[in-house]
Amino acid sequence: MNFSRPKGRDCSEVIFLRKYLLKKILIYVLTFFFAATINWAIPRFMPGNPIHFLIARFATLPESAKVLQSYFTQAFGLDRPLMEQYVNFWRAFFKGDLGISIYLYPQPVLKVILRSLPYTVLLLLPAIIVSFVIGNRFGAFVARKKYLDNIALPIFYTLTAAPYFWFGILLAWLFGVVLKVFPIAGAYSFAMTPSFSWRFVSNYLYHWILPFSSLVLVMLGGWAIGMRNMIIYELEANYSRYMEALGSSQSLIRRYAYRNAILPQVTGLAIQLGTAVAGTLTTEIVFSYPGIGYILMQGILNQDYFLIQGCFLFIIVGVLIANFIVDILYLIIDPRIRKSYTGEI
């Protein structure tokens, strides 16, 4: 009998999972460390000494010049040794001190960001999920169907090649200006204050629908193309041919292929996350939607460097968390990772 089941298998599976996740977390912590260091280093080491350039620029504003200059020197700690500046940077970070916004002086950057974060998350997350589900279904549906494929593929390519915000502009023009059915600016009506009343929520959703749809449409193209290619690949795989040789219907074979093709797509989810975030940021600008992207642009236009850097850190943290979620998701749906450690029995 050459079959035997290793004893304590469930236990070893847990150990393996823990090791796997710990390794992932380590990489993400390292990534964050690296990104934060870049964030710290760029204003200090960029050619042309940007901080001095910055101070010189604000020095022309008579009233605030002095305050700002001393604030900058103090905030960046420019008079201290580099090592100390670096340590102080981390110390401040763990205290949640990301500096003071210049554009919204004197509000702390953290407060400004936390206020806009929900708008971005509530736009981005549903858009990613909905586009992922629909895009994959579409892609799987058209794969290896010659005529359908020939029509659908150019559409998918156009969607995925369009800059996110341009698509947003087009939708805003069509539905907001020409048809006048949806509002095209802000996250809620000017006269309202955010609350959990039905009136506010419905008003919020009414403003949300256009930026959301434009994000979904653009993202959908990429998923559909990826899925189409993966399905073609899977339909050529040995297991598909075997099932066909045993008289299975195309629908069953496609269902199996879909199950396998979705796995690399989930990995793609992690890879595409950065692009999706970037797309959301620019789409927010189109719709004057008060999320991270919108305040980021205000920060750029007003040379509010603390705000820009704060946004950068938040984007990184968000993407890292999302990556980790995708990793866990992948563990759940792909038995190959969970089981591979046992090797051949």
């Binding site: 990489i27 390292l30 990534t31 090649a161 369009a162 193309i225 692009t275 820009i308």
Partner: protein, 281 residues
Amino acid sequence: MNLKEFVYFFLRNKKIITALCILGLLALVSIFGPFLTSYDPLEFASAPYQPPNRQHWLGTNTFGQDLFTQTVYGLRSSLLVGLFGGGLATIIGLIIGFLAGYRGGWFDEILMMLTNILMVIPTLALLIIIAAYLPYRGVLIQSVIIGLTAWPWTARAVRAQTLSLKTREFVDLARITATRSSKIIFQEIMPNMMSYVFMVFILQFGGAILAATGLDFIGLGPTRGISLGIMLQQATLWNAIQLGMWWWVVTPGALITLVVATLYIMNTGLDEVFNPRLREM
């Protein structure tokens, strides 16, 4: 795949031929377009708010600038960013991925750690943080920073290719016969990777154009000059669509979409040429 097969499938592939025609046409427009207009892209040309007409083919904007002039100059800078930025990213990715795969060991570990870290950080965020601190930005500088941030996935893919090529017999043979490393690289491995590298370049080309457009739009485009992204940014800032000036936003975005979609389709076509499994029989 031999040359005859390659040429046959290359010329027979409708995707590739269509893409080449479109790209050639756009390149011609970007090269010779500026000679077709008597205006300067940033100067007042005539009355503002004009829809497309005989004198101003694509209309004028809020400042009375001629949009056709802006579009052809903008197309030129977009293609340049694609060429330089995409080219640079491809070269860096190629070198890093290749060295990591070929040398292996701790060298590989460190390079791949760096690559994996950079892969997780969204490129646009990184670009923003760099570009925000540049007091002067031109098309070339934009290309350089895009090239410097876009290489990681290329490096990873090239590394995988190198690893698979490294173990093939012909490389082993060269190594046994004590052929110099540089000779192995340039005579044995590189030629086998050319098709792949070319496809990577096409994707990077499109990616660089999209990245530059995003940067321009968020307010970090070239400080002087014009690009398709800047046109869209100004249109948004000056409420073009609220004012019904659709002509200000439709052409620049459509051109970017056309260029990038064409590149993607060309890539798919090349994939079919190189990878028989995807071919339609």
